[in-house]
């Protein structure tokens, strides 16, 4: 919608304007300031701010001819451009930017042999060279200047009387030279992808280096001060509408379009201009067609004036109005030019760039598996090319990762911006008992050996026993110390082998859980965390060694013990309305509902869970903090579970969550 409004506004604006001479005329036409800008980079005529998309080095050569009475050909220009970081430097030599005028003065004299000699004048206007500089302040904003050196030479034949023994006349040429620097500044701004704006001065600084002109000053290039405003709208991806307006009421308008191939593009530009000193209303057009690859480009362009071949004017017109532009004036002829461009890239092209990066979770070293599946950071990455690319993200947490950790490749469409996840691996040997702040180096690469971009962010690495308070992450503590716990549990069960042998097999799970509880948890002490806000969970072996812990530690230990002998457990997260929550434990007795009566005569002491084979199995809840015997822990556990999960509908309302450990 906004694009359409802008496009229509531009067309109405064009229609309502009176079109005058275009001072910012460029031999290759007017190209948009978007990605096709490589084509215009050999010109600073319509690009006062020296806007450039050249990545490193650029060399351009334009050769062409002017179709006057006799066609003349010339090397129009040779330019060199170099980009260093955000700066672009430009230099051009313009031998073909020259316009010569021959005048017959109307005065003549008769020579000795009776022939007549006419006195002539020749005025030559040249641009010698130009330089430019621009600086990219932001990705969408650049500022720059261009300065050009011009030379004007005025030769007039005069007859000089010489007084000696006899009076005679000498024909001689009086020459006056004038040079001046013309310097302008400009800004380019692209607020949104489909709109580019530019503003630049015209003849802002006019510095004469030679002021010894006395007789021909009225013939110098006219250099009125002013400003120019450019706009490019892209209503469609492959169409740019361009317009440049000068405060002297001149403008040039046109469009660019093109087709992209796998490694090249074919582009077309047509620009129309009007000159108040020329007829007809549309003075001429500048068509250009360009084929561009990554390193090479060829552009064929031309200027066609609609006034016809007769461009003779009286000298008085020249005397009063002169010329304002060497290449485009009322005395210009049709032209054609062939421009060959080379782009040499000696630095790695940054195909992808990290715009922003967010640490989504601090590092909890106990959560080994979490970081393999859940990213610890997400980077906003932009594809700066016009092709789909594969981006390989990687990272290294300094003082934590020994090596660079590679995350899965992500495909990014041309010019698209995506969120890319970064995963990491917790080293087995990490055992720091203090929180530390470190830095993460993030890299993205589109090649195998070089990084396209790098980003650094601080990150908190928590101590080894740190827990983020999410019950689901207690599973990571439960999985630790497997070998130690299996050995520990087996020793206890072996001591009770005789009792277990008397049981029917179906009851063994229940009784193993009972024996382990009564021999481990029952003998421990409940120790509340000294600081309730300090989330610290003991690994199972630490709880055994300390013979105590809080509800998290005891639930983790009991779950670890049961899981390691093959008894399925689940944590119950009782979420608090506010303040502190609670955790207790469920385990699968593996009894069928029909056999539940073997362990209890009260059907409120268990509940049924269907496994993924569709089989109903009896589960019971255990309150590990009771530190009494198993039967009491069962009673306390199931009462709380029945009350909060079922009677108060906590499970359905999300206030109670069952988190299966495996």
């Amino acid at each position: 919608m906004r694009k359409s409004v802008l496009t229509i506004s531009l067309i109405l604006f064009l229609y309502s304007l009176k079109i005058y001479s275009q001072n910012s005329f460029g031999l290759n036409g007017f190209w948009s300031m978007n990605k096709k800008a490589n084509i215009m980079s050999n010109s600073i005529d319509g690009n006062t701010s020296n806007f450039s998309n050249v990545k490193d080095w650029g060399i351009d050569l334009s050769y062409g001819g002017e179709f006057a009475n006799s066609t003349t050909s010339n090397l129009y220009l040779l330019s060199l451009t170099k980009t260093l970081d955000r700066s672009n430097f430009y230099l051009r030599y313009t031998p073909g930017y020259q316009k010569d005028f021959f005048f017959i003065s109307g005065q003549s004299f008769v020579l000795e042999d009776s022939s007549t000699q006419t006195l002539n004048s020749k005025f030559s206007y040249k641009e010698i060279f130009g330089v430019g500089y621009s600086y990219q302040i932001y990705k969408n904003l650049s500022i720059g200047f261009t300065t050009r050196l011009f030379n004007q030479e005025f030769k007039n034949e005069v007859v000089e009387p010489i007084f000696s023994d006899s009076l005679y006349f000498n024909l001689k040429t009086e020459t006056e030279n004038s040079s001046f620097w013309k310097t302008d500044i400009g800004i380019n701004f692209t607020p949104v992808e489909y709109l580019s704006l530019s503003v630049a001065s015209i003849n802002l600084i006019d510095l004469k280096t030679n002021k010894n002109i006395s007789n021909n000053s009225e013939y110098e290039i006219k250099r009125p001060k002013g400003a120019q405003f450019g706009v490019t709208i892209s209503p469609y991806k492959q169409l740019n509408l361009n317009f440049i307006y000068e405060t002297s009421n001149s403008f040039m308008a046109g469009f660019n379009t093109g087709m992209d191939f796998e490694n090249a593009s074919l582009n077309l530009s047509v620009s129309a201009l009007h000159d108040k000193d020329q007829t007809p209303y549309i003075a001429g057009i500048v068509p250009a067609i360009s084929y561009q690859t990554k390193v090479f480009g060829i552009t064929l362009s031309g200027v066609k004036y609609f006034r016809g071949k007769n461009i003779s004017q009286s000298f008085s017109v020249f005397e009063t109005e002169g010329i304002k532009n060497i290449l485009n004036n009322r005395y210009s002829f049709d032209k054609a030019a062939l421009t060959i461009s080379f782009r040499l890239n000696t630095i790695a092209e940054e195909k992808a760039k990290i715009i922003n990066l967010k640490i989504v979770q601090d590092i909890f070293p106990a959560f080994e598996d979490i970081y393999l599946n859940k990213p610890f950071a997400v980077g906003k990455v932009v594809n700066q090319t016009d092709k789909k690319i594969s981006v390989k993200p990687s990272s290294k947490i300094i003082g934590f990762n020994r090596d660079i950790i590679y995350s899965p490749d992500v495909f990014v469409n041309a010019h698209d911006t995506v969120d890319i996840p970064f995963f990491t691996i917790v080293p087995d040997s990490y055992s720091n008992t203090k929180n530390t702040v470190s830095y993460v180096d993030f890299y993205i690469s589109t090649k195998t050996d070089e990084n396209d971009d790098k980003y650094q962010k601080p990150i908190l690495i928590n101590k080894i026993n740190a827990w983020d308070g999410k019950v689901i992450h207690l599973k990571e503590f439960i999985k630790r110390d497997a070998d130690y716990i299996i050995k520990y549990a087996k020793e206890i069960l072996s001591e009770n082998k005789n009792m277990l042998d008397t049981l029917v097999y179906s009851l063994s799970t229940f009784y193993k859980a009972k024996i382990l509880f009564d021999n481990i948890v029952k003998k421990f002490v409940y120790v509340a965390d000294p600081n309730a806000t300090s989330d610290y969970v003991q690994f199972p072996h630490q709880t055994i060694e300390l013979k105590g812990g809080d509800c998290d530690d005891l639930s983790v230990l009991y779950s670890a013990v049961l899981e390691n002998i093959g008894i399925q457990t689940a944590l119950v997260d009782y979420k608090p309305d506010k303040g502190l929550g609670h955790v207790n434990l469920l385990f699968n007795t593996e009894l069928s509902p029909q056999n539940a009566k073997w362990i209890t005569e009260n059907d409120r002491k268990y509940f049924i869970r269907k496994n993924n084979k569709g089989e109903d199995q009896v589960w019971i809840a255990i309150e590990t903090t009771s530190l009494t015997d198993f039967m009491k822990a069962w009673e306390l556990g199931i009462e709380k579970f029945n009350n909060e999960a079922f009677d108060n509908l906590g499970l359905a309302k999300g206030r109670v969550e069952i988190i299966d450990v495996q």
Binding site: S506, Q568, K597, N602, F607, N612, A652
Partner: protein
């Protein structure tokens, strides 16, 4: 840190308890208090709150008052007094949804014990002595659920019935009970749930009358759900 004092468990349980007044006891009526394993005899002086579960044997019944509400529990029934409460339709739907929430997620398939553990005990030989008659106990639960409905606690009645099916799977084959509770779902306009229940029922051994009733209800529910 997830912590709570155990005492809070008891306090909260105490505060939420509703006291029932025994109006009349006829015959052999027993009660199980909370999660106690024992059944104790009930007489007019017994204190009952909603933690209790009442069991009436053959030819016995009990009449209770909860506030102004009078509840009669007839013979051969088991009723958890916690179930004597009014539920909204939304609460009923949440309770029914819990059936799926409680199940083990699909990714978990761990019915086999770890192989690194010693095997204790012998395989069951089928002659194990049972403490209670499971099917009978289930039927008594369903009778209790029926009486909740008859006393005006339809939503609680449905929840109790579904819970009984899970804990006493053999009761799922009792077609007359299944039809009774499926019709309760219809009475509460829970057509999707009722259709699922009737589809289950249609796979059971039904007599001719039940077959006709089931087909009629399925057609009725399908039409309702098509609208």
């Amino acid at each position: 840190m997830k912590k709570i004092l155990i005492i809070i468990l008891f306090i909260s349980g105490y505060l939420s308890a509703q006291n029932f007044v025994i109006v009349k006891v006829n015959g052999d009526v027993k009660a199980q208090i909370g999660i106690s394993e024992k059944w104790q005899n009930v007489d007019n002086k017994t204190q009952l709150d909603n933690n209790a579960t009442i069991m009436t044997s053959k030819n016995s019944n009990i009449v209770l008052m909860l506030g102004q509400a009078k509840i009669k529990i007839n013979n051969s029934s088991i009723v958890s007094l916690k179930g004597i409460k009014k539920l909204t339709i939304d609460e009923l739907l949440l309770a029914l949804a819990m059936e799926n929430l409680i199940n083990v997620p699909d990714k978990i398939d761990k019915t086999i014990n770890s192989s690194n553990t010693a095997v204790y005990g012998k395989e069951i030989n089928g002659n194990t002595k049972t403490i209670i008659d499971e099917t009978n106990f289930g039927i008594m639960r369903l009778n209790g659920a029926k009486q909740l409905a008859e006393n005006g606690y339809t939503e609680s009645s449905i929840v109790e019935a579904m819970e009984t099916y899970r804990k006493y799977p053999d009761t799922k084959s009792l077609t007359n009970y299944r039809i009774f509770f499926a019709d309760l779902l219809i009475s509460k306009n829970l057509y999707e749930e009722a259709l699922a229940e009737y589809n289950d029922i249609s796979a059971l051994n039904l007599n001719d009358k039940e077959k006709i009733h089931t087909e009629e209800k399925i057609n009725f529910l399908k039409k309702k759900l098509l609208r």
